[in-house]
Amino acid sequence: MILELMIALTAGAAMFGTGLYGALSQTNLVMIIMGVELILAAALVNLVAFWRYLHPEEPAAQMFVLIIMAVMAVEMTVGFGIAIARFRSRGSVEMEEARELKG
């Protein structure tokens, strides 16, 4: 058993659970984005742990870390774009007030 790998993956799993709770429970768009950021950070920890303890000779694992970082930036950019549009039209980024988006 690789204890260091287990510790890193356990921390990643705890961050995933916390992020999932935050993304589902918050009513504010910015707080929901924060939850998603935590989930993606958990994915980053897992990727680096897998690279370090299972396949340190494979640089493709590190490449995927850069991809996830780009996904984090894209998610934040689009999220804040929507937040600004919503704030301009409704004066709030509360998702409880966005029920009309439901089909």
Binding site: M6, A11, A13, G17, S25, V30, A41, R52
Partner: protein
């Protein structure tokens, strides 16, 4: 217990603890700062795991990203300081169950799976960065360029969505 293990436990615990603080505090500025500390702890975990380039990149990128997030928090929130102790949550029980089940499932996979032999031949920091550069500009160039194009598209899309619609001129 090795020194690496001790530091992994410490920074992993810090990352999780600050992640929990994000959703426990009423102050939005404190939330953004807690997320910044959580992401910095993740960057420090990368350093402990000998991924120097990625660790420094994570810390630098998240410091900028979370500062921008803190500004947006203050701009958009009705009560950014949390003085009114407003409750901004819904479906708490469902969220707790979902988070708990996700955590339990992930822990079951982590602790029950056979991960095979540990990798021992860790390249040095300079070699890692050189290998990553060759990977990005060689075998994975298409993926790397696609990501660049995706970021550009997202920037244009977010700007277009955020621009105030032009008012029609009266005829």
């Amino acid at each position: 217990m090795t020194v690496q293990m001790i530091f992994l436990v410490f920074f992993g615990g810090a990352a999780v603890w600050f992640g929990i603080v994000v959703f426990r505090t009423h102050s939005m500025v404190r939330s953004a700062l807690a997320l910044l500390f959580s992401q910095t702890a993740v960057g420090l975990m990368f350093l402990v795991m000998q991924a120097e380039f990625l660790g420094v990149l994570q810390i630098m990128m998240m410091a900028t990203e979370m500062s921008v997030m803190a500004i947006f928090m203050v701009m958009f929130m009705m009560d950014p300081g949390g003085m009114g102790a407003m409750d901004m949550t819904h479906q708490k029980r469902l969220s707790l169950w979902a988070g708990g089940i996700g955590l339990a499932a992930a822990l079951a996979v982590i602790w029950l799976a056979d991960w095979g032999p540990i990798g021992t031949d860790i390249p040095g920091a300079a070699q890692q960065t050189a290998d990553l550069g060759r990977e990005l500009l060689g075998r994975s160039m298409f993926i790397f360029q696609s990501v660049g194009l995706t970021i550009l598209t997202a920037m244009v899309a977010a700007t277009m969505v955020a621009i105030a619609p032009a008012k029609e001129q009266p005829k």
